[in-house]
Symmetry: C2
Subunit: 600 residues, 2 copies
Amino acid sequence: LSASAAETVAVDFQPIGRRGHVKKDMTILDAARQLGVGLSSVCGGNGTCGTCKVRVQAGNVSPVTTVELELLSDEQDELRLGCQTELRGDATIHIPPESLTAPQRTQVEGRHVPIAPDPAVVAFELRLSPPTLVDLRSDAARLRAALPFPAASVDHRALESASLQLREHNWTVCTAVRDREIIAILPERTPLLGVAVDLGTTKVAGYLIDLTSGTTLAVRGAMNPQIAFGEDVMARIAMAMGEGDGRTRLHQSILVGLNSLIADLCAQIAANSQVVTDVVVVGNTAMHHLFLGLPVGQLGTAPYVPAESAAIDVKARDIGLEVAPGAYVHLLPNIAGFVGADHVAALLASRLDDASDHALLLDIGTNTEISLASRGRIVSCSCASGPAFEGAHIKFGMRAAPGAIERVQIHNQVVMYQTIDNLPPVGICGSGILDTVAEMKRVGILDVYGKMHSIPGMQRMPRKNEFVIAPAEETGISSDIVLRREDVNEIQLAKGAIAAGWNVLLTEAGLREAEIDRVLVAGAFGTYLDLRNAIRIGMLPHLPLSSIQQMGNAAGMGATMALVSKQERARAAEISRRVEYVELTTHPSFPDLFMAAMLL
Amino acid sequence: LSASAAETVAVDFQPIGRRGHVKKDMTILDAARQLGVGLSSVCGGNGTCGTCKVRVQAGNVSPVTTVELELLSDEQDELRLGCQTELRGDATIHIPPESLTAPQRTQVEGRHVPIAPDPAVVAFELRLSPPTLVDLRSDAARLRAALPFPAASVDHRALESASLQLREHNWTVCTAVRDREIIAILPERTPLLGVAVDLGTTKVAGYLIDLTSGTTLAVRGAMNPQIAFGEDVMARIAMAMGEGDGRTRLHQSILVGLNSLIADLCAQIAANSQVVTDVVVVGNTAMHHLFLGLPVGQLGTAPYVPAESAAIDVKARDIGLEVAPGAYVHLLPNIAGFVGADHVAALLASRLDDASDHALLLDIGTNTEISLASRGRIVSCSCASGPAFEGAHIKFGMRAAPGAIERVQIHNQVVMYQTIDNLPPVGICGSGILDTVAEMKRVGILDVYGKMHSIPGMQRMPRKNEFVIAPAEETGISSDIVLRREDVNEIQLAKGAIAAGWNVLLTEAGLREAEIDRVLVAGAFGTYLDLRNAIRIGMLPHLPLSSIQQMGNAAGMGATMALVSKQERARAAEISRRVEYVELTTHPSFPDLFMAAMLL
């Protein structure tokens, strides 16, 4: 038995937190497979694709191989390939987000920026003397007198429970105070919780935070239930503007979704949603308006101005959020019709307002918001990059779901791909589409105009203008999975819009591409795309990989920062005032830059 | 024809506003009867009762008679008796409230205190430039920039209509602003309206006011629909504290009533309730709490403290009031569990806080609130005077409704009475009960203990301890209408509680009864009772009639003052802070004073 035990090692995969024992000398890739960890591997472990990159945080592993030296040459030193690295002893392995297969990535993760908690809602533990015939002060007056500042008001819904709570808990309670308003009366020593929400067009991310410590207690991603009414922002604006109660239904739909998200977050730590005493919501301008129940007609018509751009504080109950009855929801400011509070949050999390270098932030999605910080200025724009990277308008396109091709490489005239959950392929998701286009261009199948050419040795074009990624016999849908010329054109439009966006900003700032010091890429797609391929097709500036940082859900991070700190809220307001918005549709340089940027 | 016309005169009865033509030389009482004006007349026009007092405001009438000189001796000079005064030409006749029969009195009238309007909600007419590609400010930012003060916020429900209103009205609108918040966007030059409400246990009075000028545009009284759940405050507190959804039902009930009252007020001037941009509500502490949806358990249990005593500002929509979506409702402060915001409003209207003399204010109802101003102090108390004056617990007692005996006099051993609408009597209402007790005492049927005695010549006591007011053959109910010894005792308890109340306050202030300079009597019953009789039975201090002023609905007046003036709101808050509340139930002098005050 001890001999057998000696032949296993303990392995701990982070950040997903899976642990287990595997045979000594097993590769990290095999160990991941055995423990159900979704480590990417396009070539299947042959050491040709380089997608199973990991970091060995602790433990004893086999030495670096020549395969690794070759494939990781322009990457950072500490990376290893999972298929090449054997476990010699117990080890802790960190899997970077880009090496995880889609199902194990969450929309909620993001790079944490440490800040000192300075929450808008603060707990005061009070021990009161009960009323007597010689002390007839009202319950509210008694609470007020016990607080260390004068003239507090008591929210009338908090007051509704106050008289009962005070008597039930023998006049010893925890009060949640915001500014000088008592917003909740709770049993003594109740930890005050807050919820930060990144309300995306497609996905919603929620964070349950301890307001006092700033600690994240639970995170959860969900689909935006408004998807049932239209996939993109313009479809929802059209629905809200149409006849009937479209706007109300969209408002109700997202509320139902958020209330269920908040309930799920609280259930994770067995907390009652009535102790959630603060909420911060960020989203693009249309989501922001639909959440508040505001009309969006003016967002769908030139010149596309928001109803409100300033930060908004409103009682959560007034919107219909099921949290503490006296709690507020804070909405960060918007910048413009298509640069919303979510981008302000991303700017906050990226600290671009503090940049002393030339730094570019891209939050890639159906709309891509871009900001460039340079010499104390921040210029921003919004590009209609479209839903191609989410699989829409692409013949075999699909979301990142089981069976989606998520990584593609062409190696010695052989197409290699990897699907989510290693299932027979049923379609191709954004990162797979980007890989395919970049690889086709690299090996010469695509020219700069997106036109397809046969190349010697590649048997992948049985029909003109269709490139086979997976032949029918390998797929789960009994047909070839192909990329058509039209699909390539969609990608050209999308990446062209994005590239034209940052090029216009460079023009505005008087900078050249090579002068950019840093690029921060935020958003789910931006976080999991292959940076090398994104540069190759011209979506991102041509810079060394080490200058590009993938931020994860920067908007969600910014929302949590604003949740736990009044200073961060003030900073967000300052950011929204400082940003100079550039309207691309009327910018003189835009048409030429867009035409040029569409080339591969 | 011209001869016939020459024999009629035009008469105009004020303040009820009835006009018409009557024969020349007709008495004012007959003219009132012909035009359907309810002028009181206990003796039926014989010149013996003195209840048909009127003021001749303009016009030519017959000279004063000796009957008048006798009956009006201790009244003010300008009064005349309607039955003695003949119309010699066209005339305008003012009927003081106490001379009107009950149905033509409204719960809403009150002595008007002139104040300079200084409303919380102010209109700003704005002419904006529309957004263009070079001016992309949000709608709210554009509104903010046009206002003459910085950093206004826009209520999110006002914002909901703002984007549409601005475009529909070509960027020229009227904005309603409260503090620095835009609470409504309306078509240009919309007059801003407000509603003041006196929320009584039995009756509700509403006033529709032009906020800019302070003018009253419409008034309306209604029953409090909560009556269906219990007649007095304690019954409603018990219902709210009981099992089930009693509190919610009471809250909903008053809301339905108030929304219907507001709609009726607006309908009177064909206004939309969406232009009502401010609301002030006053009521006793229990009504205040039930209106807000607060629990009232602590009001039903010693030491009877309110949940909140400070003034409250809350969005009207948050309570469920159907006015402008961004409007607030302001609730004046409470003083104690049984001295509510309605008494603060009465103090405000009576200017007792400014009194340089010794002035007593009584707001008589089921609970009677009393304040005494003396040497810069205001001491207040609440007496459980009970519902006897509303006809409850009195065998033939009833509300002031058609057929109720409302005035009683005993003249030369003959009992004279007057009923509302001159119908055969069916019962006796508060003022009639008070009159009966006082007259029985005056002629010696009652002794100081309330015991009944037969007196020579009076054939009104066929049974011991029952005094017949109206014999069966005269009534509409085929039985004698009597006052029993038990009924007299109820009145002794009620008036004793009130008298003990002001006597305790005199003790607190170190004053004697004779040192009181003024008495102000407020409330519906207090306004229409016979002051002489109220003094006679010891309910009011023994002072010359000229020192006693009947104020009408002082609480309603105070509510309208707070509606049109921020300064008045501040003054109300200051009043509530200054008032020294005296708890009668534990006051050492109360038992003795109460026992003494129960004597007739």
